[in-house]
């Protein structure tokens, strides 16, 4: 893959320019879905790559890779963020929740149940991001208004259908 080649060339050039190795990699510790994680990351690795490639949590999807679509949304210290815009090295000490955290002890989260019940899913690619934006909202505000729901998911694009069933599902989950 061309991008990999380009990176390794950059990498070699870097060492020829006598870069300091400590600053190129970093050992970080954080909590992921409640569990402590300790992992070595590259300085330019994004959180989405750390989650999917290094840690094997593929529930989080990459869409645009530039913060426009919201499909890679995770919860970082209680706040919804697009994990394509976060450097892995900056999450030292953080608490991160991914869509995998919603399924606990063999049970779906009320949000997931509501998405199923309301048919708020078509192709499903945007769903993990939408679930995490909705989760961040409900963690902060368990009884949001429709307007607050609309704002909370305004950074998540769904290209299959409208957002009506998605709003309804989040309302339903909040009612429960």
């Amino acid at each position: 893959m061309p991008r990999v080649t380009q990176r390794s060339i950059k990498f070699k050039m870097y060492f020829q320019r006598k870069g300091s190795k400590e600053a190129l990699f970093r050992e970080i510790s954080f909590r992921l879905n409640g569990e402590p994680v300790r992992v070595r990351v590259r300085s330019d690795q994004r959180l989405i790559d750390l989650l999917r490639d290094t840690l094997g949590l593929r529930g989080t999807k990459e869409g645009c890779g530039r913060g426009d679509c919201g499909s890679c949304t995770v919860i970082l210290n209680g706040l919804a963020v697009t994990s394509c815009l976060v450097l892995a090295a900056t999450v030292e000490g953080a608490e991160i929740l991914t869509v995998e955290s919603l399924f606990r002890n063999g049970r779906l989260d009320p949000l997931q149940e509501a998405f199923l019940e309301k048919g708020a899913v078509q192709c499903g690619y945007c769903t993990p991001g939408l679930l995490m934006s909705a989760k961040a909202l409900l963690l902060e505000n368990p009884h949001p208004s429709l307007e607050e729901i609309k704002i909370a998911v305004s950074g998540n694009l769904c290209r299959c259908t409208g957002y009506k069933k998605i709003f309804e599902a989040i309302q339903l989950a909040a009612e429960r």
Binding site: K10, G19, S154, G155
Partner: protein
């Protein structure tokens, strides 16, 4: 790949900047920088994070001035009761930026240092006559925001400097505060044109009028000549037309994916007339 540093204090950050390594970048929210880096548009050899520094998180009102740390996120601005009360139009501008996810990461300092002509916080901060505090290891200076922008993505900032604070005097209590942004949709839209205005009408006469626009010139722009025309006048249909003509001379929009030159000119006129009518209460 680049060296990554997460300094534990502002002085450590200034020390790292002082070393003068070419292609050193500061990382605040990263919502623009990381996209640029990955697209190949920007080389980074050393990246220094500042978003976590407590010295850059001030949010206070002191001696009639509001002081904002440069690393405050849009989210913090949106939710601050002080700012909601004193400068609601700045809060409105912060709410209009990107998505909730971006507002949870992006910082007010980053919005200005990126120097996008479409920076949404710039028009309100320009009419508030905001001052920026720029620090480097050996010195510190204050400059007005109006002289900070040099062009698209270019500012007065030295490579070894960092913006630490944005401050402005509280606007008069009974002053109208207006922020309009026109985008292609309500959420996640980059401005086609934006306008911020401050001012009031006393017995029908406009006073303290300040106007700034975004996305219609190489930098966010204060419309000094248009303001000069309006100060102390009664708002009439003829004056509105004249103000629009004057504003057209001050702006220099380009055509891009979001809008054409002609459309942007038209829209600035509409936003300006709307703002002035609101401030004046009536048009004679």
């Amino acid at each position: 790949m680049f060296e990554f540093y997460q300094p534990s204090s502002l002085s450590e950050l200034l020390h790292l900047l002082e070393e003068g390594i070419p292609d050193t970048c500061l990382l605040a929210g990263g919502t623009d920088l990381l996209v640029e880096y990955r697209s190949g548009a920007r080389n980074i050899s050393r990246l220094i994070r500042l978003a976590h520094l407590s010295e850059l998180q001030d949010l206070k009102c002191e001696d009639g001035r509001i002081k904002l740390g440069a690393a405050l996120t849009y989210r913090t601005v949106e939710r601050s009761s002080l700012l909601r009360e004193k400068v609601p139009f700045l809060v409105q501008a912060a709410q209009s930026i990107g998505s909730p996810q971006v507002r949870n990461l992006g910082t007010i300092g980053g919005n200005l240092v990126t120097a996008s002509p479409a920076a949404d916080l710039a028009p309100p901060l320009l009419v508030l006559e905001a001052q920026l505090t720029l620090k480097k290891k050996s010195s510190s200076r204050e400059i007005p925001l109006s002289s900070f922008f040099m062009g698209p993505k270019r500012t007065l900032l030295d490579p070894q400097e960092v913006v630490t604070e944005i401050s402005f005097a509280l606007p008069p209590e009974n002053c109208y505060q207006i922020f309009y942004k026109l985008g292609q949709r309500n959420a996640m839209a980059i401005s086609i044109a934006s306008l911020a205005a401050l001012g009031q009408a006393q017995r029908g006469f406009l006073t303290g009028i300040k106007i700034a626009v975004g996305s219609v010139a190489p930098t966010p722009l204060r419309l000094f000549h248009t303001e000069g025309l309006l100060q102390g006048e009664r708002l009439t249909q003829a004056l509105l037309k004249e103000a629009n003509r004057r504003a057209q001379e001050e702006i220099s929009p380009i055509s891009d994916i979001r809008g054409s030159v002609e459309y942007r000119r038209e829209i600035v006129g509409v936003l300006l007339e709307r703002a002035l009518s609101e401030i004046a209460g009536e048009v004679l």
